[in-house]
Symmetry: C2
Subunit: 331 residues, 2 copies
């Protein structure tokens, strides 16, 4: 067997195959075997689905496992490759970053074949899987520290045609929120690596907080909707119910829409995601905890907007993000 | 100023006072100043409310802060002492245990004046605060890794009269669930230390997962109900609405009601808290992640019961608890 990273299955074989993406061993750890599922049903779209990029976002691995159960019967054409957990070391540790080298996999693309383990994973995914697909769904979530609605998130893309195609694909999930998210330029993201090849990259951000059965069903329904839109399965798309509502909206959030902690202390959320707020409405309260005679500080909406993310109550340092606001996308 | 742990306020002073419980410095860290609020309105019940015993359970500190705002006007008699965070080191680190010495404060009572910092906190609370109260509310939650309904939990108490008094007080919160919880004998719990003095100790377990505005309001309403039952405030008690229902039930859970992970892998919850289940109903699925050809393992209810706790999806080792079942208490 090769010492270099390699696949133990032929992604061009007809029908269903399962095997592993073996990530080469290095000085820091042994070789990793990442389970891979591949289903070829002839001509058609070529899709790669990945989960477990961050190890404390378990929605992706579970939705991936569910797909593996029903896709062999449902898929009518094209190729779907599924890797439920691309960072098993982080998943097992329930940490965002890889515990072995402390690196964030989503900041290491395209990786290095002779780097530390996180770089070797990025390299194996970039070289052996991405070339086999035209579209990538990377299944994330906002993690345990945030309240966030089931969403697809995309950063603005310079290539206007690719941006339009990406937003259309994102909206096909029919999640409660599609979010165009301005962010600081961050090198090494999986998103950017795939975009730079002119391919559609979808970052699903499947909610936050505890991962329960109800949200998992919503996430699975969203991914099914996207597979229908791609033409991989022939079913009826349906907007999933979230908090007694079936609705799907596209919003835009800018760097200036992040509300930050004005002081160290405990943040108390006073709003929920998808709440519409007027200028001056209360978003949360910051409680300095050194003394009970020190007053608490109100954090208010600077403008009319919709709440797209709220931090779960916890102790915050000054200037940590406590909420994100957004406005309906103007087209 | 004394080098020993001490209070900077007189808990017998009339009306409202604020100050600190100073926990003595030791070899491992400097002295800590824990904010304390005290409100004396003459004869009546003497209550101590503590939050932040575990640092990743922020519901207690926030509900405590809210009480400080409206209690001065609402309280009509007796004495209420509030310490929003008895373990500020753990709260700031968002960890269950104290980061300095790695200890779980709720396993260190009555503590030691010359011990490590967690033992010194337990000692200061035990000696300087507990004697000033007849009833203690310690505001916990199930933390970010569980789905759990707002509840008051009590372990069985050998003293039958104290047990009856405790259950009555617990039910006065009118939370969706009151839970009598059989557990392994665990030395050093705050509960046991207070029970051994014949006093009522209430452990509120204020839900799990992300801490949002809706659950915080339920928790505050429950604590207000309990203050009404104690006779400290004169208002109408009201059962809070949880998931569109106003209901309050008392359950019992035994050691044998804990369901455990049958193998290492990712646990997927398939039920929600307060779901009624029949024998054989699906509670969750365990997905071994080494290979996609290995089958997933169903975890089923062994008997008719109600789900009282479900673990959030995450990677589990074999034999870790994934859910707790319960039955209505027979009296």
């Amino acid at each position: 067997m090769s010492n270099a990273s390699h696949l133990t299955l032929d992604l061009n074989a007809p029908c269903m195959s399962t095997g592993h993406l073996v990530v080469a061993k290095g000085a820091d750890c042994e070789a990793l075997s990442l389970p891979v599922f591949c289903l070829n049903k002839g001509e058609g779209p070529r899709l790669l689905i990945t989960g477990g990029n961050h190890g404390n976002e378990l929605e992706g691995p579970i939705v991936s496992r569910r797909l593996v159960e029903w896709l062999p019967e449902a898929q009518t054409c094209g190729r779907v490759i599924i890797v439920p957990e691309i960072n098993p070391l982080a998943v097992q540790a329930w940490t965002r970053n890889t515990p072995v080298d402390g690196k964030n996999l989503n900041r290491e693309f395209p990786g290095r074949a002779d780097g530390s383990v996180t770089e070797r994973i990025a390299d194996a995914v970039s070289r052996l899987l991405v070339p086999m697909a035209d579209t990538v769904f990377d299944l994330h979530s906002f993690g345990p520290q945030w309240e966030f609605p089931p969403s697809v998130v995309t950063h603005p893309i310079a290539n206007a045609a690719l941006m339009a195609k990406t937003v259309k694909m994102a909206e096909a999930f029919k999640f409660p929120m599609t979010l165009i998210w301005e962010h600081d330029d961050t090198p090494g993201m999986f998103d950017t690596f795939v975009h730079n090849q002119g391919k559609v990259f979808i970052c699903a951000e499947l909610g936050g907080g505890a991962v329960g059965s109800e949200v998992l069903s919503i996430y699975e329904a969203g991914v099914r909707n996207a597979l229908i839109a791609l033409g991989l399965i022939e079913e009826e798309a349906e907007c999933p119910t979230f908090r007694q509502r079936k609705s799907s909206q596209t919003f835009e959030t800018l760097l200036s829409d992040r509300l930050k902690s004005p002081a160290p202390g405990i943040f108390e959320p006073r709003c929920s995601v998808l709440d519409e707020v007027k200028p001056g409405d209360l978003i949360g309260v910051l409680h300095p905890m050194e003394s009970l005679s020190a007053g608490s500080i109100d954090i208010r909406a600077p403008a009319g907007s919709v709440v797209c993310a709220v931090k779960s109550a916890r102790y915050m340092e000054v200037d940590e993000a406590v909420a994100m606001l957004a406005r309906p996308l103007e087209r």
